[in-house]
């Protein structure tokens, strides 16, 4: 479920920027260019974010971390939910 929250939130944000931004541009000789730039920025940034997000959605490998760093993680960030395994 909470896989969707960031997805919807960020997509909605860039959608707002990409669709609403062009309407806010003051009229002048450069209106068209600024609108193009806003839309392209929204598209590029959103696409890049979603690529990184999807890549981390179902990771096939995990990080190989030195044991002393794992001890630090154990103390500062906490353990994973579920049962702990001994190697």
């Amino acid at each position: 479920m909470s896989v969707w929250i960031p997805l919807v939130a960020v997509t909605a944000f860039w959608l707002l920027v990409g669709a609403g931004g062009p309407l806010l541009v003051p009229s002048g000789p450069n209106r068209g260019i600024i609108q193009t730039m806003i839309v392209l920025t929204a598209v590029c940034c959103h696409m890049f974010w979603i690529i990184v997000y999807l890549h981390q959605l179902n990771p096939l490998i995990g990080p190989q971390i030195p044991v002393k760093t794992i001890l630090w993680i154990h103390e500062r960030w906490g353990d994973a939910k579920g049962e702990l395994v001994s190697k």
Binding site: V3, M37, Y53, Q64, I70, I73, E83, L84, S86
Partner: protein
């Protein structure tokens, strides 16, 4: 863009061209292409402008030599009238002559000054020599008087030759460069067989060489000898070593008088020299105020006459005809400019602008301002678009910095780049006026908006890569956690650590247990920066897939822009034989690859144990390899279908062979992973291969056939006639 003809009165032509030049919206065509440069109508005026430019450049050089700052106002002086050109020419001529004269005088004065300074030193030093030598001379006299054999060959010779009781030594005095002195001495001694006597003393302060202006160290010398032959020989040697000889009086009183005279002359010269330099400085300062403005004016005049050379004189010799390309939307402004020009020149007949119909392709004009200019230049360097084609520059304004940022991607370095770009942008007026000639700086300055945008996007991609000077932030809480038990009891903890392999070992936090199931919301999870062993495995795979997706998206976007071009020009030929094969080729191979990437992301996870697209997926080691899959597609290799035997549910924890366990089919990450994959891939490959000859040959063949048809029908028409 339309082709227009301008009819200008002879008197009004200059002013009209000046006004059009200020507008900058018109491209003139050369109506006299086969006339050489020397036969053009206004070649004399252009030559005069060249002369004026040369004089101005000479002035600028002199001003720079004296380090006077040249005033640069930002105003744009208007092109002066033709009659003003005579005034300008006269001013420049006067200035140039004055400066040359002053320079010449200064050089002469400096030379005199140098000579007088050397003379002063000589007089001072020779006083010493003569005092010392008086004693020796008296000794020599006494020796000669005694008539005893002496070891001094010189005196014996002198006594025998002259037969006089008191030998009278002659001398020459001069100044020579210090470095040449030893060789000079040696040569003198050898050539005169030791019959000359040299005394020398260094001048402590360095003198300035008149021609080069560099300081040189000199020494005063005085040579004593007797006889005229020796004198000529000594003089020749001095000439050879470029030593300057000075007439030095014999008696001390004369020397003293000369010294005083020399000092007064030196003082006088110093004053005159000072005044000359002051005068020169004043002239240059007065000129420096206007030099830049004059340069602009002269350049404008030259440009106007250059353009006037393009014009054609009509039959009645009363007016000039010009042809130019103008944008249709700006015709009003051009008309206004022409009216202004005619009024200024006081001509009664107005200039006429006449639109012409032509089938020629007009030149491409892309409107740009200071922001878009940089990007337009980059796009133009690949090739200027044909008339009325879509200008790709507005899109590159974002995609170019964005692709740079994907490669650069660091919050810290991105911020530095952003600040640098911001500085250049905010200070652009000042930096432009400073007229820095350094090429590298100019490169950065023209690209200042690009650098600013690249910095902005680099900050964003740096945030997504979670990379600030190679350190990460943990803003939302990592999605990965520790999976190994570390009991609080000391001994048990030690045991646990040993079980893992010691403090330096690097076990993997397997995703089935360590990963919480929800990815880090924005960016790369901060745990990866701690995983020194296999961080690159993960990040490289991510960046490669990002590159493929972004790159192919951009290629598709480009092809679709091309499609819009074809639609605008109603070129069915292009749509059928260029656009459609291109898009089919792209989709069959690369968009198919992109879809595979997205599918693998969404459907295949670490644990496995469910069916995907009809095939049972047991565990992550069966996740399909995309790269090798693509290679196998091209090689049309036959592969097994599915991952496990029988394609039914199996339990990976039970070893293979036992009931319920998994029997993988071959190397399961290389197998087909959806039913019908071999069939579809073969179709895609063959379609893509079929598109290639269509893209290469279809359009040229059809154009060639049309051309032949045209020739044929042209021939038949001729025959009929």
């Amino acid at each position: 863009m339309c082709l227009t003809q301008l009819f200008l009165q002879n008197e009004a032509a200059y002013a009209c061209v000046a006004e059009l030049g200020e507008l900058g919206l018109v491209q003139f065509r050369d109506l006299n292409p086969d006339v050489s440069a020397f036969q053009r109508k206004y070649v004399k005026e252009v030559r005069r402008c060249d002369e004026m430019e040369r004089k101005l450049r000479f002035l600028e050089k002199e001003i720079k030599k004296d380090s006077i700052p040249m005033l640069d106002t930002y105003e744009n002086p208007e092109a002066p009238q033709p009659r003003e050109m005579f005034d300008l020419e006269a001013t420049f001529e006067k200035l140039e002559n004055e400066l040359r004269e002053v320079n010449q005088n200064e050089e002469m004065l400096k030379k005199n000054f140098a000579e007088l300074t050397e003379l002063k030193h000589i007089l001072r030093k020779t006083q010493q020599f003569f005092e010392e030598n008086e004693g020796e001379r008296q000794a020599l006299d006494s020796l000669a008087m005694e008539d005893a054999p002496s070891h001094h060959d010189g005196t014996k010779l002198i006594a025998e030759r002259e037969g006089q009781p008191k030998p009278h030594l002659k001398f020459v005095a001069g100044v020579i460069q210090r470095e040449r002195l030893p060789a000079f001495e040696r040569l003198l001694w050898r050539a005169c067989r030791g019959n000359v006597f040299l005394r020398q003393s260094e001048i402590t302060e360095p003198l300035t060489d008149a021609s080069t202006g560099a300081p040189v160290n000199k020494a005063v010398f005085i040579i004593f000898f007797q006889g005229d032959q020796l004198k000529t020989r000594v003089k020749k040697i001095c000439e050879g070593f470029r030593a300057t000889l000075y007439p030095c009086p014999d008696t001390p009183q004369e020397r003293r008088e000369m010294s005083i005279g020399v000092m007064t002359r030196i003082e006088d010269l110093k004053t005159v020299l000072g005044q000359t330099q002051d005068h020169r400085h004043r002239v240059l300062v007065a000129a420096a105020k206007n030099v830049r403005m004059w340069m602009t004016k002269v350049r404008k005049i030259k440009a106007i006459y250059h353009v006037l050379n393009f014009f054609n004189l009509d039959v009645t010799q009363k007016c000039l005809i010009a042809e130019c390309w103008c944008p249709v939307t700006e015709l009003d402004r051009i008309q206004l400019a022409l009216k202004r020009g005619s009024e200024e020149s006081g001509s009664t007949v107005p200039s006429i602008l006449n639109r012409m119909d032509t089938s020629e392709a007009p030149p491409t004009y892309n409107k740009s301002n200071k922001f878009t200019q940089g990007f337009q230049n980059i796009v133009d360097s690949y090739g200027i678009a044909a008339y009325r084609e879509i200008n790709p520059a507005p899109y590159t304004m974002i995609t170019f910095p964005f692709l740079f940022a994907i490669m650069f991607g660091d919050l810290g370095h991105g911020t530095i780049m952003l600040l640098a770009g911001l500085f250049l942008v905010l200070q652009e007026k000042r930096l432009e006026a400073a007229r820095i000639k350094d090429e590298i700086f100019q490169m950065f300055f023209t690209g200042r908006y690009m650098i600013f945008l690249m910095g902005c996007f680099s900050v964003y991609t740096g945030f997504i890569y979670n990379d600030a000077f190679s350190k990460s932030f943990n803003l939302f809480g990592s999605s990965w956690g520790n999976i190994f038990p570390f009991p609080l009891d000391e001994k048990a903890r030690e045991q646990a650590i040993t079980n893992l392999g010691g403090l330096e070992a690097s076990p993997m936090l397997i995703p089935e247990k360590a990963y919480s199931g929800e990815p880090y919301p924005i960016g790369v999870d901060p745990i990866w920066v701690l995983a020194e062993a296999n961080k690159l495995n993960f990040l490289n795979s991510m960046k490669m897939k990002a590159a493929i997706l972004v790159g192919i998206a951009q290629m598709t976007f480009g092809i679709i822009l091309g499609y819009h071009n074809f639609k605008y020009f109603n070129s069915k030929l292009d749509i059928l034989y260029t656009f459609i094969p291109q898009i089919i080729f792209l989709s069959c191979i690369f968009i198919y690859l992109c879809l595979q990437v997205i599918m693998k992301w969404i459907a295949y996870d670490a644990a496995g144990g469910y069916s995907v697209l009809g095939y049972f997926y047991p565990s992550s080691n069966c996740a399909p390899s995309l790269l090798i899959g693509l290679i196998n597609m091209f090689m049309m290799k036959s592969r097994d279908d599915g991952f496990v035997d029988g394609n039914k549910y199996c339990n990976t924890s039970i070893p293979p062979g036992k009931p319920g366990g998994c029997n993988m089919v071959g190397l399961c990450h290389l197998n087909n992973w959806y039913p019908g994959q071999s069939f579809f891939e073969t179709i895609f490959l063959l379609t893509a291969i079929a598109c290639v000859p269509v893209m290469l040959f279809a359009k040229p063949y059809i154009l060639w056939k049309e051309e032949k048809q045209r020739q044929l029908s042209g021939h038949t028409q001729l025959v009929q006639v």
